[in-house]
């Protein structure tokens, strides 16, 4: 295995029109570990995450993933995204394709895998996230938890070095939340760099190596999960933790 991929962000600022969503964010994200990003709604977590794989353009600052700058040159960006998987809050499965085809589409069309190889790999991944039995269904026929696990398998099929999760469990009922978190906990043991936006503090406690707390477009606190939960430094983090309740 190659060295884990770390992420370096320097003075990242992003404006939506005149609204400044990110206010000079600088942070180093450790390779091969799970970093949890939390903060109140509208604090810029999604925007930050989407900058990491270039889904969002930004105005000033730099991002490097595994030593390679994230730019706006389309080809380089496409190349970089091969190594950076993303899981969305709203799943975004391809509704016109079966679960199996959702997972095999990218390897077949982008890595030019043969169908048989891609399907074998996909079935292994679906097995791993526990939805192998649904392989031939369309996404519309799955429960929310199953959909999100398929979305994780789809991202894993490209064998990414970095995985970004944007509130992967926020749209799910409690039972499904657990299914998905179990898969993510399993993943976190595997040595992929993970950046997870979530309010699941139990998850953060168990697997995160660090917690980043974001407020008003800034990362205002960076801490080990234990330290963050027991004695958050900033007032803002204190009231945030009080709002979402104990882990």
């Amino acid at each position: 295995m190659t060295a884990p991929t770390s992420i370096k962000v320097r003075s990242l600022s992003k404006w939506f029109g005149s609204w400044r969503a990110l206010q000079g964010v600088s942070v180093d994200i450790e390779g091969g570990a799970c970093t949890v990003l939390c903060g109140p709604s509208g604090s810029g977590k999604s925007t930050f995450l989407r900058c990491l794989n270039g889904l969002e353009e930004w105005q000033t600052g730099e991002i490097e993933i595994g030593g390679i700058a994230v730019g706006d040159q389309p080809r380089a960006l496409t190349r970089l995204r091969r190594d950076v998987g993303m899981v969305f809050q709203s799943f975004n499965l391809f509704p016109h394709l079966s679960v199996l085809d959702n997972v095999t589409l990218a390897p077949r069309r982008l890595l030019h895998r043969r169908r048989k190889d891609a399907e074998e790999q996909a079935m292994r991944l679906l097995q791993r996230v526990g939805v192998a039995r649904q392989a031939d269904k369309l996404p519309a026929g799955l429960s929310g938890g199953q959909k999100q696990r398929v979305a994780i398998a789809r991202a894993l099929a490209m064998e990414p070095k970095v995985l970004l999760f944007d509130e992967p469990t926020s749209a799910l009922d409690p039972e499904s939340v657990k299914e998905v978190l179990d898969v993510m906990i399993e993943l976190a043991k595997g040595g992929t760099t993970m950046v997870v936006v979530t309010h699941e503090m139990g998850f953060a406690r168990r697997v995160a190596s660090r917690v980043l707390f974001m407020d008003k477009g800034r990362i205002v606190e960076t801490a080990e999960p234990e330290a963050f939960f027991t004695c958050p430094c900033s007032e803002r983090a204190k009231s945030f933790l009080a709002d979402i309740g104990p882990p």
Partner: protein, 365 residues
């Protein structure tokens, strides 16, 4: 439903209903009478009193339809003035599309999609090459001898097959982030949509040759086909744009995040969903396009409608306009019927997949 409980189809039941609802009973009986009367008149004229074999108008029963006229002229209505010895070529051109359509209705087999798609894409070129000849040992048949249903089919299917990819590109450009490209496309689409088809056809026949490099010539059907293609691509582009806009942003983002580039995102993820979403609109455009082919008569082409119109002035068969136009109408109606049938089959397939899916979900949860 709201009738008294005695409203069975017994004499007393019917009478009771009639007494309870005098107005609707009156209306029902009246409409029924009109419908029956019309049906009777049509059947009487078109079948009972009709003449199927005659040498000229005088040989036909004046009380009924003179189908002998249509039957006599059928080869000409079908092929125009295409030489008889070469008609097998025209037969192939005429029968290929229905064969492909039947194939499309057939149960799944490996490669079916490719045969159908390839067949339709290759159709205009192959049909033009086969009909015009001049190579592969086929004798040359100048395009002014093509006509009738044959010409209608080539122009109609040709314009559709050519305008479809053009419309996809226009729809994508119309939604492009590049302002110059977007405004150019809007201008292009509005230009073709803003002109009457008649003007488009005149322009393409008179002006298009001026833009062609010297020594390069397109036949009259080719010029008309070009005009019709540009015209209908503008309409189709707007239908497809609606489909593109109905596909959520999340789909594009998921594809980009998987490292699909723009074209692959469109090809594998956005277009399949967009085209499915606007299938009824596309079929609508195709039907409109098919009927619009009749306008090629104004640039001197003898499509089905024009060749029948021309035949009406034959001295031996004067005064048979009704028969001629009924014939043309039935042919066009058949085409549109087949098209809408195919499209509703496709839609039903679509919704069946979804429904089955929901039932499965219900059973697994």
């Amino acid at each position: 439903m709201h009738a008294p409980s005695s409203s069975r189809l017994t004499p007393s039941g019917v009478l009771a209903t009639a007494r309870a609802y005098p107005f609707s009973t009156f209306l029902t009986v009246g409409l029924l009478y009109v419908a029956l009367w019309l049906t009777w008149r049509i059947v009487d004229w078109a079948v009972i009193e009709a003449t199927w074999q005659a040498g000229d108008r005088a040989g036909c029963n004046p009380e009924g339809a003179c189908w002998a006229f249509i039957l006599n002229r059928l080869p000409q209505f079908t092929f125009g003035f295409y030489p008889e010895a070469e008609r097998w070529r025209a037969w192939i051109v005429l029968l290929a599309p229905p064969a492909l359509l039947l194939l499309a209705m057939a149960p799944d087999f490996k490669g079916r999609r490719w045969i159908i798609a390839g067949g339709f894409i290759a159709y205009p070129v192959a049909a033009l090459a086969l009909l015009s000849g001049g190579s592969l040992g086929l004798s040359h048949v100048p395009s002014d001898q093509w006509g009738g249903l044959l010409l209608t089919m080539i122009v109609g299917i040709g314009a559709f097959v050519l305008s479809f990819p053009l419309a996809i590109l226009l729809a994508l450009a119309r939604l492009s982030k590049l302002p110059a490209l977007r405004w150019l496309t809007i201008g292009f689409i509005d230009f073709w949509r803003g002109m009457p088809l008649v003007a488009v056809l005149f322009m393409s026949v008179i002006m298009l040759p001026l833009f062609l490099p010297p020594g390069f010539e397109i036949s009259r059907p080719g010029l008309a086909l070009t005009g019709l293609t540009l015209y209908s691509s503008a309409y189709l582009a707007e239908v497809i744009r609606g489909g593109l806009q109905s596909v959520g942003r999340g789909q594009t983002e998921a594809a980009l995040a998987l490292s699909f580039g723009f074209w692959r995102t469109q090809t594998y993820i956005v277009m399949p969903q967009a085209l499915r979403a606007v299938l009824p609109g596309i079929v609508n455009s195709v039907i409109a396009l098919f009927k619009d082919t009749t306008y090629v008569m104004i640039v001197g082409l003898f499509d089905l409608l024009n060749i029948v119109t021309a035949a009406l002035s034959d001295a031996r068969w004067l005064g048979l306009a009704t028969e001629g136009y009924v014939f043309v109408g039935v042919i066009y109606w058949l085409f549109c019927f087949v098209l809408s049938h195919v499209s509703s089959r496709l839609e039903a397939q679509q919704s069946r997949v979804v429904r089955q899916d929901q039932i499965l979900t219900g059973s697994t949860q």
